[in-house]
Amino acid sequence: MKCFLRSLTLLVGLFFYASIHAADALPTLTTPDDVGPVIEQPIEFPHFRHAGDAKDGGMQINCMYCHTYARRSMVAGIPPIQKCIGCHQSIESVRDKPRIQKLFEYWDAKKPIPWKKVHDLPDFVRFNHERHIQRFYFQQDRPYQEVCGYCHGNVKAMTVAQRQKPITMGWCASCHQKDHPVSANSSETGHGPNDCFTCHK
């Protein structure tokens, strides 16, 4: 009996171990489970209207027109309200829409809009937008929607952004370990940096 109990204990332990381990194996690229929660923002910003394709009624504005710091800094940044107003003060046709009215309320009160973070990395991770944009957008000349979309998904079809990828270390590494052509028209391949301190410093 004692022996049985012992082996039972071990078996139960092993089962736990195996099941946890299986769940923790290298994640596959994207699954529907990776989509982040819907996050309520102070203004329901319509990305599809600004960045969407013309055929869907969008204006095809480059992501970096508003998220202007992505190519110059670690963070992509939220545009200051000044930037929104810069265009919207001369777009009379939508001035009385509730979202635009809300925008002008913030502007008149000179209060920044408390946007919530959609892609919030832990504090021990340093992700640098500039490096990725410079490499893929400026050096390799890929379309911006593809470059931003690697991590952010098809934002041009969303209203407020929602996380589409797991953004875990395994997911980052899955790309960094893969061989890519070093430039758009080269047969030579290489992969992204793989040192711990590139992100953890």
Partner: protein
């Protein structure tokens, strides 16, 4: 029954597997918290700001009086770190640990946040309008002579404004007080060289002999002197690598860096200086007759007997000084803190004249051309004058700013009781320190990283090159970010508001201190390096962005007029057997006089020599300790005629056997969570002995006795056993027990 025999071992196995499972499940997506924090978001953004990229703003350090020029690294509206300004002739892009801790004064959780009014034993929060109104009310009907101001060393436009306010009140009672001040040195320099603060050129000297001047740690402008010292130690210099000799009873950081460290009997530094002059004469150097007339009495034998320095050492020193010129001889606090401190300093200054250093390594300095912004230098004698006035009920209203005399006055002066005699005491304070606790009205100040000011340093360093003898500078202090606590105010703003109560018309154009400062600077555009036709806005912005305003100063001149005529050095007497040891209060590089004690980095950074953190200690020579039966960690009572403290004993071979040393700045009973109750306050137990010429408190004149209390602690320190294993099992040096070490021998 075996069914229930689920043994502990099995239980642990299950627990082990379960623990692993929990640990592994922690590696999933759980660390990402979408939608919790807000993004840094702006209404408008200046073109020079990019989120995540730092901007640098030039300013001036406020941690000590050296006035180093700094750059604040600012990101997303927060100042993160101070760096040295590379264009500064003072610190040349460098910083010290004390300066780096300035951000902790700025973000300190114990800062006073609202004006506070005391009624009886209770304090209440009041509005600024009420606070300023109350001051006005108390001042009406008070004569100018009954109003006193006690401040630290001051300079720049805040000082000018304070001067204006005092003129309006008709008060001439400005007491500028510094707990640790080179006042004796200033007076001795004035006599010996004609200027009170010449430029010392350690970098030009081939030998530096320093009588207790801790120029790498806490003396006058340590970051500046550290830069010079780096040059001095370079073998590639035309003069070759310099030799440093440090003479002091208690080893300082500079002493630890010296080629030769000589433990002198406390107080006999002047005798040693004259003995060296005599030995120089014997070695063949020509000594001016007036000096020789005095120094010939100090034969090597007599000097050696009085100072505890061997005849061989004295002769070696004389040879070293004779052969290697130019040299530089410095006098510091360890030599000056005596009733005959001025005499010691004068005797040491004679050496520079004998060796022909004046004009070579002791250079003339310049002073600023605007007397109203020139520094008002603090000293201890002004505190005595204030204390006497308070004791005689002369002052009804007392303002204090930037000083903490209740903490740093010796208990025997009874300053706390005398301060309480004034009817209404106003403290401009960043912390509720001991003086603020004794005040009736506390006005919360901005930190130095939120406030506007101009600063003129006392020690005027100059860049190399032509015209350096007429170089003077004014530095800007400017806000690096929004206020941390919205209801604090700058000292300039408060003074301006008080001035408006008196002379509304004259100051009505100035909305705040910023506009006052800006208009004062623009009015003197030409003198401050601009041209008459320059655009005001452009000039102002350029000046601020540089942070340093070079001025065409009034050039001074040095002369070798040190005279031995009036020199009177006392013959050392045997110690009083009931108080056999000499107490040397040590000024450490990070704690200084204790004004920054509530910055935890300073408490946390180990003392460079003992590596002790977060506490006071008493340094005792191992030989003395062996006689008294004291071992490391014993809690001992150190008692003087005026008071006593208890602290942990640290056996230290770098101290004269007749002396013990305790660092100052610890032992606050108020101020904040990091300062309160840490260590013991050695200021309190000092005897009231003063330098006979300058009236400065003689810090080293207190005799003490030491007794064990029976308690023992393990000292919290960084160091391991000397010669112990480091990085593996390799011995790095032969271990010598502390009582066998002789630091005066060359290693």
């Amino acid at each position: 029954m075996t069914e229930n025999d689920f043994s502990r071992r099995d239980f642990l196995k299950v627990l082990g597997w379960g623990g692993t499972a929990v640990a592994l499940s922690g590696c999933g997506n759980t660390s990402i918290q979408d939608g919790q924090e807000t993004v840094t978001s702006y209404v408008t953004l200046p073109s020079y700001v990019t989120p995540s990229i730092s901007n640098y703003f030039n300013s001036t350090c406020a941690q000590c009086d050296a006035g180093c020029n700094i750059m604040g690294r600012v990101r997303e509206g927060r100042v993160l770190k101070a760096e040295g300004n590379p264009n500064s002739p003072i610190n040349r892009g460098r910083m010290c640990g004390l300066g780096l801790s300035g951000v902790q004064a700025h973000y300190n959780p114990d800062r006073v946040r609202e004006p506070l009014l005391r009624t009886g034993d209770k304090g209440e929060t009041i509005t600024w309008d009420k606070a300023l109104g109350l001051i006005n009310e108390k001042l009406n009907g008070t004569k100018g002579a009954e109003i006193a101001f006690v401040t630290g060393g001051m300079s720049g436009h805040v000082q000018a404004l304070l001067g204006n306010y005092m003129d309006e009140l008709g008060s001439k009672n400005h007491f500028s007080y510094e707990a640790i001040s080179p006042a004796v040195l200033r007076a001795a320099n004035k006599k010996a060289y004609g200027v009170s603060m010449p430029r010392y050129r350690i970098d030009k000297a081939r030998v530096v002999v320093s009588f207790g001047a801790d120029f790498l740690g806490a003396w006058i402008s340590p970051v500046h002197f550290s830069q010079q010292y780096a040059q001095f130690r370079k073998g590639t210099r035309p003069e070759g690598r310099g030799v440093l000799v440090q003479i002091e009873p208690k080893m300082t950081l500079t002493g630890a860096n010296a080629d030769r460290w000589i433990a002198v009997r406390p107080g006999t530094e002047g005798v040693l200086a004259l003995g060296i002059i005599n030995a120089l004469g014997k070695a063949g150097l020509s000594i001016p007759a007036d000096i020789a007339a005095v120094s010939h009495e100090y034969t090597t034998e007599r000097t050696s007997k009085e100072t505890d320095v061997s005849a061989e050492q004295i002769e070696k020193l004389a040879v070293l000084l004779k052969e290697r010129t130019p040299s530089l001889v410095l006098a510091g606090g360890a030599a000056e803190g005596y009733a005959h401190g001025s005499q010691n300093a004068a005797a040491i200054a004679l050496l520079n004249r004998v060796l022909g250093n004046v004009g070579k390594t002791v250079e003339a300095s310049a002073s600023v051309p605007f007397p109203q912004i020139a520094p008002t230098l603090g000293n201890r004698s002004s505190l005595i004058a204030l204390n006497d006035g308070l004791a005689a009920d002369k002052y009804k209203v007392v303002f204090s700013y930037g000083v903490n005399p209740v903490f740093s006055a010796p208990a025997s002066m009874k300053f706390r009781d005398n301060f309480a005699k004034a009817d209404f005491k106003v403290a401009f304070a960043q912390y509720m320190d001991e003086t603020a606790m004794a005040a009736d009205l506390i006005l919360p100040l901005d930190s130095a990283m939120e406030d506007w000011a101009t600063v003129v340093p006392e020690y005027m360093a100059a860049p190399e090159g032509a015209g350096s003898n007429a170089y003077a500078q004014m530095s800007f202090r400017q806000p690096m970010m929004e206020k941390v606590f919205p209801d604090t105010r700058g000292v300039g703003d408060i003074l301006l508001a008080l001035l408006k109560q008196r002379k509304a018309d004259k100051y009505k154009d100035f909305e705040d201190f910023y506009s006052y400062l800006r208009s004062a600077v623009l009015k003197n555009k030409v003198a401050l390096g601009g041209k008459a036709g320059d655009d005001d806005e452009v000039f102002w912005n350029e000046t601020l962005s540089k942070g340093i305003v070079p001025l065409k100063g009034i050039a001074g001149s040095v002369s070798a007029k040190a005279s031995a005529a009036s020199l009177k050095l006392p013959v050392p007497t045997d110690a009083d057997p009931s108080y056999p040891l000499r107490l040397i209060p040590a000024v450490s590089a990070s704690m200084r006089d204790g004004r920054n004690a509530n910055e935890p980095w300073l408490q946390e950074s180990p003392d460079p020599l003992t590596t002790i953190v977060w506490d006071s200690w008493v340094e005792i020579n191992p030989k003395t300790a062996a006689k008294l039966g004291i071992v490391e960690g014993d809690i001992v009572e150190i008692a003087s005629r005026s008071g006593s403290i208890k602290t942990q004993a640290y056996l230290f071979p770098g101290i004269h056997p007749d002396a013990v040393s305790v660092p100052v700045g610890y032992g606050h009973e108020a101020m904040g969570r990091y300062a309160r109750g840490v260590g013991a306050n050695v200021f309190g137990m000092l005897d009231s002995v003063f330098d006979k010429e300058t009236g400065e408190l003689a810090l080293n004149e207190t005799s003490v006795k030491i007794s064990k209390t029976g308690q023992r602690v393990i000292i919290v320190k960084e160091e391991g056993p000397a010669g112990g294993s480091q990085a593996g099992k390799q011995k790095i040096a032969v271990q010598v027990s502390a009582d066998k070490v002789d630091l005066s021998k060359e290693v």
